[in-house]
Symmetry: C2
Subunit: 506 residues, 2 copies
């Protein structure tokens, strides 16, 4: 489809929604905000072009390969330049090297700290974002090249489009609109942008500690825009996220593989052990089988229960947009609770076994299973670690296998919960009403954005998650996208939020 | 280590063994055979160089990629040239195309048919070999480049060195020695060499059918040298092989992957289903759990039992050379029986899950488990197929999963058993005594060489497997090798076998 047609179609859709009234009843505001909105609308093709340039960079932080690291450095350099051209003072902080389990050392991409304005009469809002991405290979099932942003029907497909390059750019566009119109920014703005989020935000926590009394001393509010709405069209505000503890379990007979004809029948095969270990973790109803794992999960109160009932979620539509035939649960409330307030366990894959198309008659000699548990308040990570290790040791010892088993928790990220009566939640609600003409869904996020918890714990500042992406954006998946509409209206939302924050501060 | 030193060391070892007497008490024979042996000894470096050139070709038939197919065509062309220069009449038979499951079509490398001599007074021996190899990637744990034949301590490391390029060349060298010495070949020789063995000998069976009354009409004996001894130093003769039925089981929720934060807790995760399915196949003692699978396994007779007792196998040494801490069984007899006359089930791996180093928080949307069952007399392949499908359907239906499961048998190869009182077994025993000064171990092979069964069934001719490689050669594994000693003495063995066959024929 001609991208111009796509934009026309999406403009038409916006128009229809405006005319329709009801839920999306906002009209173009007058005054400064109106000018800002107009500026953003007029420049939307430039904004898409910039996103295209950023998506083109394969800034994969998950696979520890030097070529990806080079791309990450290039990505962070580009972001620093962009912020400098906006008039920000920019500091690209060298945060040293990363030690990999195999002894290899790789440089960590710099963390960009930037600031615009330091008027003591204005509130200071710090925006956090990341520019690294999950791996994506065209052969995994992408319909377009993951590193060539491609617009189809108003959807901008590309790795990192919604997670998190698009939202970072939307915030920058909001600032640039005020600048282009020669207007003072309503708030002091700071940026902290990293390149290792998908790999567990290596080195970020240490930097936040170090900058607590310097860069962050004047910061009052922190905004993160790294998750999704739970609807395709209705905005949301997020007040909690699950944590994550990622485990590897290695079973080893020897380093080399075996021929299944020459050795099949006389070995304790590592894959048989591993499959039994992984099969002992969760039952077919999604219930985690590790003893004690639910002990510290916060009990469900009647008050909390009502929160889920108020959420506007059409389960059928959600299922359709997810292309899932059937969920484990049949009611909206159960589905939301199992995504947000109960732990879950997912098996991600196996390293070291035969994983390619075709047939190979191999007995893998050493295999590594990978799974993770999404943590919720008030699970304790080190308790969870002990429970997992103990459980796997129990299962393994019952097998009487002569292989060696080693369990390790390779990543541990705490869950996070915010106070939704804070000023910036109020300002964001108002901004959402202005741009989208509706109140947001008040939601949690089942995935882990560790930085929320880090900011809250270390800085003791208010943290808010203000997502821009639609529920079907497919972050971490094949054919990730951000809608042009979300990207552009999201830029407006941030601009409106700046003004509302200034208003509340007066 | 300097390769020259390696050769000196290995020559010294041979000398020591010769001096030592006892088990390896042969001396250089006189007459024609002595000249042939001397010729082979003198030209051994040339023979290693030719093997190096053949190993350098990445003739991978397992992964259906056009670039590998090109290499296979190049490999078969090189072999045809080599045979032509030996004076053989050579026919490179085009056997058409291969249809892959994804609809793709790839050309099959030609099958080389060659013949040398057609004296009706001599017996006609046909040698079968293959020049395709299993996949090998340097990063899988190879200490040397798998496609650069590298000699260390008399071991020639490289993919295909022992399986099966080295043995094919040893037969060619045996023939070339008679030719170089201007001597008549004691037997008429035919060759059938293919390039698709590792992919299930696609198109070979059809060709054998077609050539039954032409190329094969004069053939009385078929020799295959595509397996290993069960000792590092003592030769063997093989009279049986296991079959193999290879299965894939696909579990699919949707084609795309999911983010484990956004969807973890509400899905029937395909990996949880697959791990349960694979975990239901075999218990920790190696016993296959598929109902009925042992029903048709031949009962063990007292007579057969004695065969295993006679085998010269030091279980401790075998375990050490295999780098395995403990086998499933503690006696030589039990180990041999579970490798040769009982079925085994190995889980090879999973396609579609996360298989790379590092962490990825993905819920794979569609995964394919791969496993195979080594078949023994008198298991029936189509019965096994039905049992496997029924079992997996039963396990899956008990899970009440909303995912789709599909089981398919992608390869089925029958087991094979030979008559060990045949002429060529007798000739081979004598030749082994001449070259190695010992009687061979009379063994079966746990792996599958389907061509043995094909020749036996279609041509009704005597089939013998005469292995050259040592037990620790690591076929299909990382760091595959053939010992220089086995390669060179193996060339002599074939030459001696030609003469013994001629003697028996008189």
């Amino acid at each position: 489809m001609d991208p111009k047609l796509g934009r026309m179609a999406s403009a038409l859709l916006v128009l229809l929604l405006l005319l329709e009234g009801g839920m999306f009843s906002s009209s173009q505001p007058s005054g400064l905000l109106g000018e800002v909105f107009q500026y953003i609308d007029v420049h939307q093709d430039d904004f898409v072009q910039t996103l295209k340039e950023w998506v083109a960079i394969e800034s994969n932080s998950v696979q520890p390969e030097p070529r990806f690291r080079q791309e990450l450095f290039r990505m962070m350099g580009l972001a620093a330049d962009k912020l400098r051209r906006l008039g920000a003072s920019v500091d690209s902080v060298d945060v040293g090297h990363q030690q990999l389990p195999d002894g290899q050392t790789l440089p960590i991409p710099p963390i960009v700290l930037a600031e615009l304005g330091n008027d003591p009469k204005k509130p200071t809002v710090c925006f956090y974002g990341h520019l690294d991405v999950q791996p994506a290979r065209p052969e995994d099932g992408w319909l377009t090249n993951p590193y060539t942003l491609t617009e189809v029907d108003g959807k901008l497909y590309g790795r990192g489009a919604t997670d998190n390059k698009g939202p970072v750019l939307a915030w920058i566009h909001a600032v640039s609109a005020f600048k282009a119109l020669d207007q003072d920014l309503p708030v002091n703005i700071k940026f902290i942008i990293e390149g290792m989020e998908e790999a567990g935000s290596v080195a970020l926590e240490e930097l936040v500690h170090r900058e607590k009394d310097r860069f962050f001393s004047s910061v009052e509010y922190i905004v993160i825009s790294d998750n999704l709405w739970i609807s395709q069209r209705k905005p949301a505000l997020t007040y909690g996220t699950r944590g994550n503890s990622y485990f590897t379990v290695e079973v080893k007979c020897r380093d080399q593989d075996f021929h299944s004809g020459t050795f099949g029948g006389i070995l304790h095969e590592p894959m048989a052990d591993l499959v039994a270990l992984l099969g002992s973790l969760v039952d077919s109803s999604g219930h985690i089988l590790i003893p004690g794992i639910y002990d510290h999960v916060a009990p469900l109160t009647e008050e909390e229960k009502k929160l889920y009932e108020a959420i506007d979620l059409d389960l059928g539509e959600y299922r359709n947009s997810s292309q899932v035939e059937k969920f484990l649960f049949d009611t909206k409330e159960e589905v939301l609770m199992h995504l947000w307030r109960y732990p879950s366990l997912s098996i991600h894959g196996i390293e070291g076994a035969y994983d390619e198309p075709g047939m190979k008659t191999v007995i893998p000699g050493r295999v590594i299973g990978k799974f993770s548990i999404r943590l919720v308040p008030h699970m304790n990570m080190s308790v969870v670690e002990k429970q997992v290790v103990q459980h796997l040791q129990d299962v393994f010892s019952r097998r009487n296998s002569s292989n060696k088993m080693a369990v390790s928790m390779t990543l541990g990220l705490h869950p996070w919960i915010a106070d939704i009566n804070d000023n910036q939640y109020l300002a964001a609600k108002r901004a959402i009403r202005t741009v989208f003409g509706t109140d947001p869904d008040m939601i949690r996020d089942g995935s882990t954005i560790p930085i929320a918890k880090i900011f809250q714990e270390i800085l003791q500042k208010s943290v808010m998650m203000l997502p821009l992406g639609a529920v079907d954006d497919g972050e971490h998946s094949q054919n990730e996208k951000i809608n042009r509409w979300n990207y552009i209206e999201g830029s407006k939302l941030f601009a409106a939020f700046f003004l509302e924050m200034a208003n509340l501060h007066q």
